[in-house]
């Protein structure tokens, strides 16, 4: 076993937000938010658009600093974006290799690259450039790059929302399968409630700006979960209710 190099096991990783507040100018975006994400947990944040979900990811990744409160992170963090996160001047294989930069041994790097390609089943597109791939394929490459090497925590900012509906459904299963092979701590932001219910261990329903946590919801049924799984439907209903969508629809 290579010590620590091939991360098919979960290292200790943790994200802690403590009483975090942030304003853009005079506009409060986040108010007194406390949140702990434990090792191996899959946390999904849903909330109305513009509520500050992406800002929370920016705080976790260190791209932004909080106005008040503290943020502690343990582990290597990588972000998966909605689209265009791949470098267009690099081939698929070179993009994934970016994630393996920390590995010094080139033989080991090769081996790891091959196993990642097997995992995302895109061996035939190794030497293609991102603009030659479909949207779903590009997101699979992004996932492989983020899972490569020494990453511990994935921050995912609506990674599937630019995809068509069917591809989006497939990508959910794909993500679950990849995480079975390479477990990671995940913080996933989406406006897609089904997606939240299918993927999450814990769903955080956020309020309108300034963002506070309206509801925490544990979903314990085994993954992958079907769209028609009882717990998924139940969770979807609770989330819709908390967001106020159900009431509005009925009125």
């Amino acid at each position: 076993m290579f010590a620590g190099a091939m991360k098919d096991r979960l290292n200790n990783s943790r994200l802690v937000l403590q009483d975090v507040s942030l304003s853009f100018g005079t506009m409060p975006v986040i108010q007194n938010l406390s949140l702990t994400v434990n090792s191996g947990e899959f946390v999904v944040m849903v909330g109305p658009s513009g509520c500050g979900k992406t800002t929370i990811l920016n705080l976790l990744s260190g791209y932004m600093r909080p106005g008040l409160g503290s943020i502690k992170t343990e582990g290597v963090i990588r972000t998966v974006y909605q689209q265009d996160g791949l470098f267009p001047w690099l081939t698929v294989s070179e993009n994934i290799s970016m994630g393996l930069r920390s590995l010094k041994d080139s033989v080991h790097r090769e081996k790891e690259l091959r196993s990642l390609f097997e995992l995302i089943r895109l061996e035939d597109f190794k030497n293609n450039y991102p603009h030659e791939l479909s949207g779903g394929m590009r997101q699979r490459v992004e996932l492989a790059r983020a899972l490569a090497g020494d990453s511990d925590i994935l921050l995912m900012d609506e990674p599937f929302s630019a995809l068509d509906y069917q591809t989006r459904l497939r990508m959910r299963y794909e993500l679950i399968r990849l995480l079975e092979n390479r477990p990671r701590t995940v913080v996933f932001v989406t406006h897609d409630i089904e997606e939240a219910a299918q993927l999450a261990d814990r769903v955080l329903v956020l309020s309108k700006r300034p963002a506070t946590i309206l509801q925490e919801l544990q979903i314990t049924s085994l993954k992958p979960r079907d769209l028609t799984d009882g717990e998924v439907i139940k969770a979807t209903r609770i989330i819709l209710e908390k967001l106020g969508v159900l009431q509005e629809a009925i009125i």
Partner: protein
């Protein structure tokens, strides 16, 4: 349902032929690319011939196509044309390479540092709009006659557009690339060579083609006053001897060489790692 309505429309029970649009269109396009410009060329040649034939301009001011061809052949045989071509190409190459080697890094630097940009942008814009030909008196006094003033003028003509184009390309790189770069630990010089530079390379290639075009225009003017050989000097000397047939031959050579080199530079935009910049 659709087949049925087709049948009534065309009154035919037969299946429609397979659509073969694409290959046919491709073939005709290739054919057109060769033939259409040739037709235009011959029309222009004929117009030229008729202008001479009916003495629209006095004959000393309008050489005939035949006279141009004859003097062209003389210039080739005597070796002056080849010598002038080599001289001009050399000056453009040196001036252009110096300007690329300094202008592209300068643009990268300016693009990344807002303070530098604020400080230098007005003066760069000022110099960009100053015609390089305005430097001719200084160029000759500083560098005398020969390659140097021409190289200097080429540099003055191309450095500013190259630096400014690179700078604005850097300033518009999507922020997401730098965020990804941070996630994967690209820093300092590596960030510059592995992220910033490839991200602007397609625009740099375009800027190189544009500024090469400028330099090929400037060299002719520069050589008219600052040199003893070169294509520009050849035209100037032909004018002094009232040999407009020779001047026209030189003009044709300048145009063709310019096209050929641009064709060569355009090959860089076909490199696989810059294709993305032209296809999006």
């Amino acid at each position: 349902m659709k087949g049925k309505s087709d049948r009534t429309l065309f009154n035919s029970g037969q299946a429609p032929a397979l659509v073969q649009n694409k290959p046919v269109a491709y073939k005709t396009r290739r054919w057109r690319i060769l033939v259409l410009p040739l037709i235009v060329f011959f029309i222009l040649l004929l117009t030229w011939y008729l202008l001479v034939r009916f003495n629209i301009f006095p004959s000393y001011a309008m050489p005939s196509p035949g006279a141009v061809a004859r003097s062209f052949w003389e210039d080739v045989k005597s070796g002056t044309l080849i010598n002038d071509i080599v001289a001009s190409l050399w000056r453009v190459a040196v001036g252009f390479i110096i300007s690329a080697l300094l202008g592209i890094p300068a643009g990268l630097w300016l693009g990344q540092h807002i303070t530098a940009r604020q400080a230098f942008l007005p003066i760069l814009n000022f110099l960009r709009f100053l015609s390089p030909l305005a430097w001719i008196p200084f160029a000759i006094l500083w560098f005398h006659i020969g390659d140097k003033p021409a190289v200097f003028l080429i540099f003055m003509a191309t450095f500013f557009p190259l630096a400014l184009a690179t700078m604005s390309a850097v300033a518009t790189i999507p922020a997401i690339y730098f965020r990804v770069a941070k996630d994967y630990n690209y820093k300092g010089f590596e960030l510059l060579t592995k992220v910033t530079f490839p991200a602007v390379l397609p625009q740099i290639i375009t800027a190189l083609r544009v500024s090469y075009g400028i330099s090929w225009i400037v060299i002719v003017a520069a050589e008219m006053v600052g040199c003893q050989d070169g294509l520009g000097y050849g035209i100037w000397e032909a004018r002094n001897g009232l040999r407009l047939d020779s001047a026209a031959g030189y003009m044709i050579v300048i145009g063709l060489l310019g096209m050929a080199i641009d064709r060569f530079l355009s090959q860089f935009s076909k490199l696989p790692n810059v294709r993305w910049g032209y296809e999006r």
